[in-house]
Amino acid sequence: MAIPLSYNIRNLRLRLGSTLMTAVGIALTVAVAVFIMALLSGLRHAFVQSGDPLNVLIIRKAAQTELQSGVDRDAYNTIRTLPGIALAKTGEPLASGEVVVIIVLPRKDGTGETNVTVRGMSPLGFEMRPAVRLVEGRWFNGGQREIVVSKSIHDRFLNAGMGEEIFFGKGKWKVVGVFDAGETASSSELWADVNQMSSDFERSAAMSSVLVRSTDPVSAQALKNRVADDQRLKLDAMLEPDYFAEQTRSGAPIQFVGTIVAIVMAIGSCFAAMNTMYAAVAFRSREIATLRIIGFSRASIITSFVIESVLLALLGAAVGLILMLPFNGMSTGTANALTFSETIFSVRITLQVFLTAVAFAVIMGLVGGIAPAWHASRREILSALRD
């Protein structure tokens, strides 16, 4: 027969100080783990959301990112004539030759400078990214030193407000608009006219990449294969979502360090929980003996104490999650290991993060509870009663 759960809950309440101290210790561990998992899930989300399955990105063979890549103007002109490319309202093929460079901008909060991506694109580029909306001002005009910035760049960096001027390349660029790209990789970029950019950065011979929009998913696949197989072009093509999926690797350092921190803290917390449970067992040895005499089996004593330990850990998990909730949605940035520039993303406490944290706490409770529970069930009834 099982010992009722209310017995455990009452016992935890009886030793409130000790229970709270242990629970808060576990809560801190859970909080650190949650924070790291939420960072990673936000980062993954930013990349997974990025890219339109109809868009095909073309870069040089062996280049992993647009930054390393170079595409000749001749190749660009060849690509524009390929079949399967959707047409703009003006009748032009939806193909945008783009120049991607990195510039350094100072952060608003005074924590230093960071690399950010500036993308030169054809004015058709907006039409090819239907997920992006203009929230303030207007798009840049071709041939002008005008720039539109993403909302998060606007919020996080100096001189990125409407009408302000950012200095890079050969002079100042006026901010004429702010766009919202949701939580995608584009939300960490500044966009300007490709021709103006190529002259500023002396990139007139080659562009970084070409983005083309296909009419339907089948022709997207066909375009991708056609470009990649063309021996003259020496180019590689991929669907935009695949390109971004590859970049989630930038979370690796956070993941590596975070896992070590969480595991070491968890081991420490396990021992602390064990300590508390041993004390609980010692304190109640007469009570346990009484339970045995009444007829509760050893197994039910073990179960009861393990459950108590898990309850303790779950209390810790609840406190830890509550501690971390205010951070949900906070936006932050990290360097993308492949593009060297900042990727902005928000901390996301998803259901998966939530469940993992709870599972993490349950494991701590189990590991911390089993030995004391075993000890409790093994004591001689008579000697325990005499204590």
Partner: protein, 382 residues
Amino acid sequence: MTLGRFATKNAFRNRRRSALTAISIAFSLLLLTLLMSVYRGFYIDKGSAESNQRLITRHKVSLVFFLPSFYRDKIRTIPGVVRVSPWNWFGGIYKDQKPENFFAQFGVDPSEIFDVLKDDKIAPDELQAFQRDRAGAAVSRSLAERQHWKIGDHIIIKGSIYPVNLELTVRALYDPPTAFDAVFFNTEYVEQALPRAKGRTGTFFILADSPEHVVPVGKAVDEMFANSPQPTKTETEKAFGLSFVAQLGNVKLFILSICAAVVFAILLVSGNTMAMTIRERTREVAVLKTLGFSRGTILSLYIGEAVTISLIGGVLGAGAAALLLIVVSHAPNGTFFNGFKVTGPTFLFSLAVAALVGLVSAAFPAYQASRRNIVDGLRHIG
């Protein structure tokens, strides 16, 4: 029996509890010591004397832009500059894109690079061989061991930024002062294979004549090119390295907040133990008082016990951290923690944190116990 002995005896009275507490504190302090070592490596250490004499000049806008190669000779004319070598990131791929096959490749000037990196040890005959072969490579010894390369081996590195594949022969092995693995090759190789790369340099590595001249030299370099189409930014080697760390986000805040969480967690663990211990000994405290021990003595007795336990945890944890960093720095793929070590002051600081935690955690329960009325204490059943 002296009071000190009494306190230590007490600490081991409930062996299991003391051991569990000490182990719990040890794990937390292991983490704390590791984090502090990383923090120290990033933000406190000044770097070696040689490293403090070096500067790196790059394009002001960002690393991905090139500087004209003739800047090298202009920089040489600045007083205080001893040596200048080009330093070009190649960014090629060896074998495949697996992380274990990733290493840095730099195009350098073989005749001058090891004068700039004068704390890198290289055998004179190997250096000569590297200088004579335009397709030669100098490889850090640990990288060569990891990849099983010997002198005379051929390595092929596929270009990703440059459409050029390097076919190099290992001519020299060198020992860098810190764990920084790289392959150096003659930057002329790329220039000859790719005419448009000629006359362009990514960064310049500068050696100043003394650490005091590093700041004025950096300023002079940047002023010299301030109004040119390619302005420069010159930083010390240390600052240059830190700019990469800064990109990961607010690493400083990240480390410090985890440290704070860890310290708070061990405070709770130790506090919990002491509260349990002292509650159990309520009667004993009353007996001690009856015998004539003063409140102050009883207070110090319990604080001494707590400090003993947390110090044991501290020694274990900080010692394990030191060992771990030594082991990891010899591991083939431990790229992240490479170059960090637990220094004496860090170790002592960890112990001080442990002692302080013991002190603070015992203070409140011990104070309460010492104030308790003797008669109440003797009547206590627990």
